[in-house]
Assembly symmetry: C2
Homo-oligomer: 229 residues x 2
DNA sequence: AAAGTGGATATATCTAGGCAAAAGGGAAGG
DNA sequence: CCTTCCCTTTTGCCTAGATATATCCACTTT
């Protein structure tokens, strides 16, 4: 009669999927489920908590556990190292540094990085290729007052992304995705027409309330970001 | 002396972030950590398991727990119900049905829905507005052989998305995001120039290995999907 | 040298019980 | 009728102990 939390989780999910517990309905309490399945409440708790983590159910003290109304409320995307992503599709990865300058922080970046005007930042532009076709353009800004080591780092062989991953851990990340039209520079680098619709990801990274880096990644035309579950 | 699993998790993460336990290094065993912190082993286990779930550490029986070398982190996006999303920004939500036809499945959709050519599908087009400005265009296809109830559903007041959520218990979902140029129809509906770069989401939904619906959501120009973690 | 075996060990999971905290729901008072 | 306060329910979290399982490593066998 006693079962493990995985089986229990599968059981409950099965019943939800088959409509026995329709969206919005209230599930039995932990004690009751534990008695029904002949296991400890902790086991039920583990199963229910994982279902909640997966976004299947919603739990609130006193209110109980109920099936979520929306079939999918959250999606999870892996943010891989670009090299891995390219190699995963069976292509050869190549990296190229385009430019590297120490400049005054532009106004539009002040707010995002949380630095004051007039400060100096490191600006690195580079390209990532899959089998010699453009894959991604990387436009990165690093706050050198927070990360002075970046000033002496050599980005000609290894990309700033991989360098940063190895050099600094991060605590908070904000990402956003949008669609943008290729300007002249991007069109040239990504080998597409000017005005072509491109998928763009922007990421700000903080460590201990200190902004470290902001990066704008522009993917080749036609790129898709996909998730399934 | 005794602490909760959240504090413990934060403690361990802190030490990893600060380099006390560098990437690749072996962490103490659960028993040892429990003794050091004066708590039960289950508490340590919970903290460590969550760190593993978050992709910070890697755990293997007998081998112990070690800090991951390349933390391939994953982002989690909330995909809100369109009405909630609009109302969250303080705007008034409005819905409009554009068209609704029963047609032969187009070739490009056969593969995605997993239906054979010549079959009949329900095609629904509608718009979602925020304060009377276009917010999202919904282009939906429903397999009526799997979901015959859709044939008699009235989509003039409630959108197909909300109808489906209530009608279909639960499912497997595949989503993908990309950038596309506005064609004449989309430009007209979304009030933008033809060729404008638009953010597009596509979602296929299955239930018990049966494809139910495919939807293509095109957002207004300038839309951003953002997450923070 | 290569392959198989078994013990040691670290994590995975379960049990049984208890206290804490949040919050729904109703009672009491204005 | 409405608001405020309290009680009870339900999940959250912890302890302490035990079994299960995977797997590294050393040792033995072929």
């Amino acid at each position: 009669m006693a079962i493990g939390y995985k089986e229990l989780k599968a059981d409950i999910l099965q019943r939800i999927v088959q409509g026995y517990w329709p969206p919005g309905s209230l599930l039995p309490g932990e004690v009751e489920l534990a008695e029904q399945h002949g296991c400890a409440r902790a086991t039920v708790n583990r199963a229910m908590r994982e279902l909640a983590d997966d976004g299947i159910v919603e739990r609130r003290r006193k209110a109980g556990t109920r099936v979520r109304m929306a079939p999918m409320r959250q999606a999870r995307f892996d943010i891989p190292i670009i090299r891995k992503e390219v190699e995963a599709i069976g292509a050869t990865y190549r990296y190229a540094l385009l430019s590297r300058d120490e400049v005054n922080v532009p106004d539009w970046l002040c707010g995002r990085l949380g630095v004051s005007r007039g400060e100096s930042v490191l600006h690195v532009e580079c390209m990532h290729y899959a089998d010699h076709t453009p894959y991604q353009h990387e436009d990165r800004w690093i706050d050198i007052s927070v990360l002075p080591a970046a000033r002496t780092a050599d980005f000609s062989a290894v990309g700033p992304n991989e360098w940063l991953v190895a050099a600094v851990p991060f605590s908070t990340v904000e990402m956003s995705f949008r669609s943008t039209a290729a300007d002249r520079v991007l069109a040239a680098h990504l080998d597409c027409a000017e005005g072509a619709p491109l998928f763009q990801a922007e990421r700000s990274t903080w460590w201990e309330e200190q902004a470290i880096t902001f990066v704008r990644l522009t993917y080749r035309e036609g790129y898709r970001m996909t998730t399934r579950y």
